[in-house]
Amino acid sequence: MNEGATNVSVYKISDEKFNEIRNEILATWPTGKDVDFEEAIKYQQAIPESKNFAVAMKKAGEENRTLLQPRAGVALVTEHINLLKYLETEGEADLLPTTIDAYTRLNRYENAADGVEKSLQARTSLLNGFPAVNHGLVGCRMVTEAVKSPIQVRHGTPDARLLAEITLAGGFTSFEGGGISYNIPYAKKVPLQKSIDDWKYVDRLVGKYEERGIHINREPFGPLTGTLVPPCVSHVVAIVEGILALRQGVKSITLGYGQGGNLVQDVSAILSLKSLAHEYFKREGFNEYDLTTVFHQWMGGFPPDEAKAFAVISLGATVAVLSGADKVIVKTPHEAKGIPTKEANAQGIKATRQAVNMLRDQRFPVSEEQNIETEQIKKEVRSLMDTIYRLGEGDIEKGVVAAVEAGALDVPFAPAVCNHGKILPMRDNNGYIRIFNKGNMALSDEIMAYHREKLEERAKIEGRNVCFQMVTDDIYAISKGALVGRPR
């Protein structure tokens, strides 16, 4: 056992430091000054338990249910409320989102204000999400009060400190993101240590709510770049972010994974994610937490044809429920075209609902193939985690920063310059995501030999060598009607 196990409180941001940052952060945009933590606690206390996200996730876990949640967000408060109400009533979503616009994600509140102004003039949303910081406490509370379901902030913000302060005081009870998962796939030039530090503040804020009896759910972003991400890569990021959150006093954690496409690999991924997370959380000295899982329907390119898109959605729904994921994030038939209409968004939920209901009393039969894949994922995750502990001399935070810098942990196709970007994944002959080029990833020769063998199998059948063209073919395969990008 590592030394940290006995004294986990050493990692917590001190109150003094926290307050210092808070004063600074709340002054970065005029709406920040309305946040008063004591008043926010009272406000949160008055929110009925039926609307609490952490409670809903825990219950879903206990009752073996898979809850459905869409993504949605528009520029203006009234329009956003109409959209959410539609998804709640017509779409019958179990959990609601508020997706934040891209300007807010980069703390460009002036651009967001401009987007609000232009949206008012154009009488349609010109922003791709809800600018919660600009709308402030008042706007956020109008939204959270207007709906009956638990509601979460979903975004992609490397520095989400102000957004967290405003939205949690605004009545949201779950907050997506993390210092790695909201940097590497979402930012270009933010140093990893900086985003990790900023997210420690967010987690500490959630911890402070927990200390006052307010449950706030936290969800590291599982799918990362959503493009051929090997399960071991996203699992390691999820587990590390889970530990970093627990260190700041977070209690309700939902870890995610994005659909890869092969049924067995996806089921194995959700099962191994949960057991590995418990293993590492305990190793770090944590015993009191609620851990649940979320499965994201296919995050890569979608077929433009709506009927075909429904098939992708339904397949994702199938895997979500068969793997026992506690929540599924739903896509829409407009995915290929960009931001969906509210009608299309509700259709995605309904298609998912039908599949989930038909499968809810069934479980995926345990097979030899599943056992092999589950063990393979675990072996890879342990190999990467061992390296992180080694590079951090026992400390996971220090280790993960060093591992990303060295490319020992590498996210495929990511925009961030702090990411190595040398790993190249592709599909094997059965559609499993395998690693073609590991870059500097800390994976043994034995592990890589297994991946290579699987890829050679595909190459032989396709009558070509294992090559970069296969990666490109795989990236566009689903949008063109198949899982594996075979030669034309």
Partner: protein
Amino acid sequence: MSTPYNIVLGVIGSDCHSVGNKILEAYFTENGFNVTNLGVMVSQEEFIAAAIETGSKAILVSSLYGHGEIDCAGLREKCIEKGLDDIILYVGGNLVVGKVPFEQVVEKFKKMGFDRVFSNEGSLDQEAELLRKDIEERLK
């Protein structure tokens, strides 16, 4: 071998969609262009500075997240201001929020001064061919 024209590539605004950008870079490079890839989250000023620095004939702008209309407005005027009167401007991706008929999107962006507008369903072979033709047309 055809002339290796210099072009600038990037994803405009606050958009961080990086997958297609990496594919485009690989594709145009393989097809004989000298690509300066600015990656994601590129400002209009960065596009223009890179085009001047590399003597590029064209700027290929991508936008996938729906803010394309706001982000692209004024790019043509800024190019002219910096003396890039003849530069070819292409734009492609998911350019607007909501489901707008593609003809309307094309019209909107052509009005803004883009030479060609692409949806995300076009073929890269065709785009590369058009680009080569457009460049050679300007050089006449």
